[in-house]
């Protein structure tokens, strides 16, 4: 038997990624969920179980399969998702894709408007000194107001002057998501080093040249970090915008209807749809980030 060379004996980290830990965590959550569903649903299922004569099999089947449970079991949510995504036409009001699209469209519009507003405010704050002092407190104050308190007012006021549907919801998204963009971009636009700025001064570069050739490119990593936060809360804003208005379409409307009629399975399915949308949006921003930074010569 020959001794292996020492250098090869060192274990090499395998490129398996994080599939194993993610799976383990998911399984733990599922297990905890199923277990918790038994006591949480007891108010509803307890009498039924007793009527059926008790026993473990009855406990499990009743706790995990009630039509209107306090908390549905994961497979019930999965079934509802499957049913409302794949078995109905995407344009029907029963389709979660339809409701998802309604929410997504106002999310996207709000995200674009909010990002543009955030960038514009940051550019103004960086260039005009007194704005940093006068505008910043208002920007921060705007985020301390509970969105649930102003969302109905926005919707009602805009509705009274003829704006309904997409635009008011988008404005709520915009209101929430401009903030991280402003904060991130102020940081990003002021991130160039003194020498990089001095260099521009020696060239007698104009303010807009400094902005476009130095400040803006330097702020791109900050921008994408902010956009990831912004896109997720834009979705929250759109959903919140659908809640107080009696909207008949959108994830928020779906949540509201579910709670009116005690359809917990439907609520949870809508919640999951919302999470998938958020995850997809953040992922898309990350892809754009990687692509852009690669194009800008970032060290891989």
């Amino acid at each position: 038997m020959s001794a292996a060379p020492a250098i090869a004996a060192r274990p090499v980290a395998r490129e398996t990624g994080n599939a194993v830990p993610v799976t383990v965590v998911c399984l733990c959550i599922l297990l905890a969920w199923y277990l918790a569903a038994i006591p949480m649903n007891w108010v509803i299922t307890g009498p039924k179980i007793e009527a059926a004569g008790g026993g473990l099999s009855n406990i499990l089947s009743f706790s995990w399969n009630d039509a209107r449970p306090v908390i549905p079991a994961p497979h019930q949510i999965a079934q509802e998702l499957w049913k409302s995504v794949f078995t109905v036409a995407p344009w029907s009001v029963k389709s979660l894709l339809y409701h998802g699209w309604i929410t997504l469209s106002s999310t996207l519009l709000g995200f674009v408007l909010g990002s543009l507003l955030g960038i514009a405010l940051a550019i103004a704050i960086v260039h005009v000194k007194f704005l940093a002092k006068s505008l910043m407190p208002w920007i921060i104050a705007s985020q301390t107001i509970p969105i649930l308190a102003i969302a109905p007012m926005v919707i009602v006021v805009l509705g009274s002057i003829g704006f309904t549907g997409l635009v008011p919801k988008s404005l709520i998204s915009m209101y929430l998501c401009f903030f991280p963009v402003t904060i991130g971009m102020v940081k990003g636009l002021t991130s160039p080093e003194t020498t990089q700025l001095d260099l521009m001064r020696t060239y007698h570069a104009s303010t807009s040249q400094v902005l476009w050739k130095l400040r803006f490119p330097a702020s791109v990593p900050f921008l994408f970090t902010s956009l990831k936060v912004a896109v997720a809360i834009a979705l929250t804003g759109a959903i919140v915008g659908e809640l107080p208005t009696g909207a008949i379409a959108g994830i928020g409307a779906r949540l509201l209807q579910g709670s009116y009629y005690g359809q917990t399975v439907q609520i949870w399915a809508a919640l999951f749809m919302g999470s998938f949308l958020a995850a997809a949006l953040v992922w898309l921003v990350s892809v754009a980030e990687r692509f852009t930074l690669r194009r800008m010569g970032e060290k891989p």
């Binding site: 080093e193 020498t195 990089q196 001095d198 260099l199 521009m200 001064r201 020696t202 060239y203 007698h204 570069a205 040249q209 050739k213 130095l214 490119p217 330097a218 791109v220 800008m296 010569g297 970032e298 060290k299």
Partner: protein, 258 residues
């Protein structure tokens, strides 16, 4: 051109700080002629970088007068009279080498940018690195890119603030040699800040010895070494005599004391 490229008379600069004013420059008198290679040498805090920054209009003097090409530093800066090389390369990391060199050309609106970029990359021996990003280059190469960038718009005056300070001695020797050849070929006026005595003596036609607290000029030495010298010159008696005189000047200015 008639008259000196840079002329300073009784130039002083005081920084007002929280506790006590700092006399960064005190009554500095200096003339830099066309085609000179002038080095400012001295310990940290002697005002050599500040003086360079006043010439570049990156700082303003508090009293005295200074002219660059017969104008105020601000007018000279607005006319893009000089190229400035910083201590750090200060390349823009999202730009390739050629686009970094092209930056001043974009800003100033030159129409023959590609030709100028190619010429100046060749001048600093970086042909073939056009498409590289700064992080793909060594520190010495990055600094050469920044020199090519300063030369790109062909300023008559080159201001260099310890450009080789962060590099090891072997790379520094090589770049000193290249810089000297560049100076000899292009007939530019160079003002060069350093704290290395051999570097100052080797490169300069005129050495300005400075001293701290307050920042002032102790000695101005005309070297009279041939323009096209090589590194071997550092072994010659003339070279050693000049280095000795610089060291004596620094000593007289208490530069070696704490």
């Amino acid at each position: 051109m008639a008259g000196p490229v840079i002329s300073a008379r009784e130039l002083s600069l005081v920084f007002q700080t929280a506790d006590a004013p700092v006399y960064a420059l005190s009554k500095v008198n200096l003339e830099v002629e066309d085609g000179d290679f002038v080095s400012f040498i001295g310990p940290s805090g002697c005002g050599k970088t500040t003086l360079l920054r006043v010439i570049a209009d990156l700082e303003q003097a508090t009293s005295g007068t200074i002219t660059v090409n017969g104008m105020t530093p601000q007018e000279a800066r607005l006319k893009r009279a000089y190229g400035y090389v910083f201590q750090a390369p200060a390349l823009y990391p999202w730009r390739t080498v050629e686009r970094n060199v092209g930056l001043p050309l974009e800003i100033m609106g030159f129409d023959n940018a590609p030709e100028r970029i190619a010429r100046n990359l060749e001048r600093v021996n970086l042909k073939g690195f056009e498409k590289k990003y700064p992080w793909q280059l060594s520190g010495g190469m990055q600094q050469r890119v920044s020199i090519a960038r300063a030369l790109a718009f062909d300023p008559k005056l080159l201001l260099m603030d310890e450009p080789f300070g962060a590099l090891d001695e072997i790379v520094r020797d090589k770049l000193n040699q290249q810089l000297l050849e560049l100076w000899d070929r292009t007939k530019k006026t160079v003002v060069f800040v350093t704290h290395s005595i051999p570097e100052a003596v080797f490169l300069s036609s005129k050495i300005v010895v400075m001293s701290p607290r307050p920042g002032r000029i102790i000695d101005v030495i005309e070297t009279n070494l041939p323009r096209n010298r090589t590194l071997d010159i550092r072994e010659t008696p003339e070279f050693l005599k000049l280095a000795h005189r610089v060291r004596e000047g620094l000593k007289a200015g208490h530069s070696y004391e704490d």
